[in-house]
Amino acid sequence: MLKTFSIGGIHPEENKLSAQSAIQELPIPKIATIPIAQHIGAPAKAIVKKGDEVKVGQVIAQSSGFVSANIHSSVSGTVFKVDDVMDATGFRRTSIIIKVDGDEWLEHIDRSEDLVTEITQTKEEIIKRVGDAGIVGLGGATFPAHVKLSVPPGKTAEVLVINAVECEPYLTSDHRVMLEKADEIMVGIEILMKALEVKKAIIGIENNKPDAIAHMTQVATKYSGIEVCPLKTQYPQGGEKQLISATMKREVPSGALPIEVGAVVQNVGTAFAVYEAIQKNKPLFERVATITGKSLKNPSNWKFRVGTPVSDIIEAAGGLPEDTAKIVGGGPMMGKALVSVDVPLTKGSSGLLLLAEEETARKATKACIRCGKCVSVCPMGLEPYLLMVLADKKEYERLENDAVMDCIECGSCSFTCPATRPLLDYIRLGKGKVGQIMRARK
């Protein structure tokens, strides 16, 4: 029996349409719109102004706190303006807009394809460089990577868990990176292991990617301490706590972080970015994203520069299908609909999913039939039906006692509910309020 996490979980249709498409390079945009907040935590501070010349890889916005990340220019050219621009949620946020001119990189970035395996930096240097390079979790949560590498005093990491499950349906970017850049990923993992001072790394991959499992397992034999762990395909295995449960058989207690059980989780894409930052001096300004959808002409995987408009990648994949009703940024389970195709792709863009009307239409909400399905699929062992009611009734104290903050917002409950109740929407609302109350108490 293949391993998986201990409670709950669902298995939606996989729809990995773009799995066979090798990563292609998206043309450099004419104008790049680079938001200064592309990560969880405090937005970076813009340090360029209108008229400044920038090169590829240059810092254009500086991290403004511990949980924050530098932003680098992904293109070369002139800063056209620093202004509020609509982001994917429709709110206007500060962005640096650059008129692109040629493709001039900073000299110290190594653009060759050669594999550099020797790791010369010390632990401290690695963590510092990861921070300087603006690396954030590339699984979609965009948590600054150097923060996770700084193990709090008194705690020790034992195992580095690499999240390569790609449990969201449709998405294939991690899958392709594993097939095409396995060696680089392994060196990246070794660098992360050195930074965390651990001897062991486990790469969790779901068994719907047999080629990736085979390839990674074979490449891993060249590196010591790295092991591939094939997992049963089940959503939301990419959740940190679920992945730890699946690969290490350890349960992270409610309210605690993975380090509590000696684990640190990083995404495979992040490991690749760490390799590039440390061995090639290349900060994070490009990444791979999947563009997919049933009516799309060419579901495919693209390496893009941060700040490229969404419309460019759609164009490259064969244009917007006529029946598109919704464009989701990220996977279908946790992604969010975009308000416009003019918004830029960012560090957190792992995919774009174009859905037709009949795939998106929400059915009418009916009364809860007390079937308990939401309870049985919740990977955190919560009672979603109850949390929804409590959130609606604004019973924040009971919500807190019922561990609403444990919800990982995976959406399994809403997905399964036969009465199509918007469980997660309300739970999120409750979480927001309870979070506020808890912060106010501190």
């Binding site: 509020d84 429709g90 416009s340 909400t365 918007p422 929407d425 309300y426 999120r428």
Partner: protein, 321 residues
Amino acid sequence: MNIIVITILALCAIGVAAAIILYFVAQKFKVYEDPRIDEVEEALPAANCGGCGYPGCRGFAEALVKADDISNFNCPVGGAAVMSHVGGILGHDVKAADPTVAVIRCNGTCDNRPKTNIYDGATSCTIAASLYSGDTGCQHGCLGLGECVDACNFDAMYMDKETGLPVIIEDKCVSCGACVKACPNSIIELRKKGPKSRRIFVSCVNKDKGGVAKKACSVACIGCGKCVKECPFDAITLENNLAYIDYNKCKLCRKCVIVCPTNAIHELNFPPRKEKPATKPTAATVKPVAAPKAEAKTEEAPKAKPEPKAKEAKDGTSDNK
């Protein structure tokens, strides 16, 4: 036989003993309650709306009785009459607070503010606001899902189907502020009712720069500052590209209404303006580039002015039909 008598007597004795103990315990732990609390509660309207800031009328009564000075307390439902009655009971002087009423500070009707996308999620403004900016180009405006209407306990609000905006029924609104608290975009404000219910306010909360605001909504405040300059009483301030009229300073002269190039300033319950030709050119010369649609509205607006703004909006839509 005997045993029955003894049992009964014994039980009686225990009962009496228990009663005596309970009596003394009750005396010992007796909570003294000021009888005036009941009296004050009686005087309150029993709406239990929470508009006073206390959980229900009883809570408010307790707070009133405890307070040394009740001039900062107000029952929005009962208003000045109730507060002075309460003052009488408690022996305090109360000066009447100006009555207030809720106003909707957004005029982004479907005509003024075209939709750019469709939202089909949970029907709660708070949820929508936490997900995205709303289904129009204006990230500040009304989301139109009616959370405020649900919050109103006095049937003083409804959603206007034509405009997609909430409407306050002024006679029913007791100014409890429930809608103000409910709205995630802070669109509703309690304003001084004003003489004969006449009010002037900026019916917009858009803080974007002029061009952006105007593109998203034809009646948005673009922060041009014309009203600020025009106001003879210094009642208008401009902050974050948004004008705000201080209702304590405003003398209801209506000068600002005329100069506003986008018609973002609303006047409520005024008699119709007579010198129509005089108002028109001003508005037109101030901003000749105004979209033709907005100009047409300017022309209609004076006619519709005697009615509250909801009606005005309705007129606009019926004209379109």
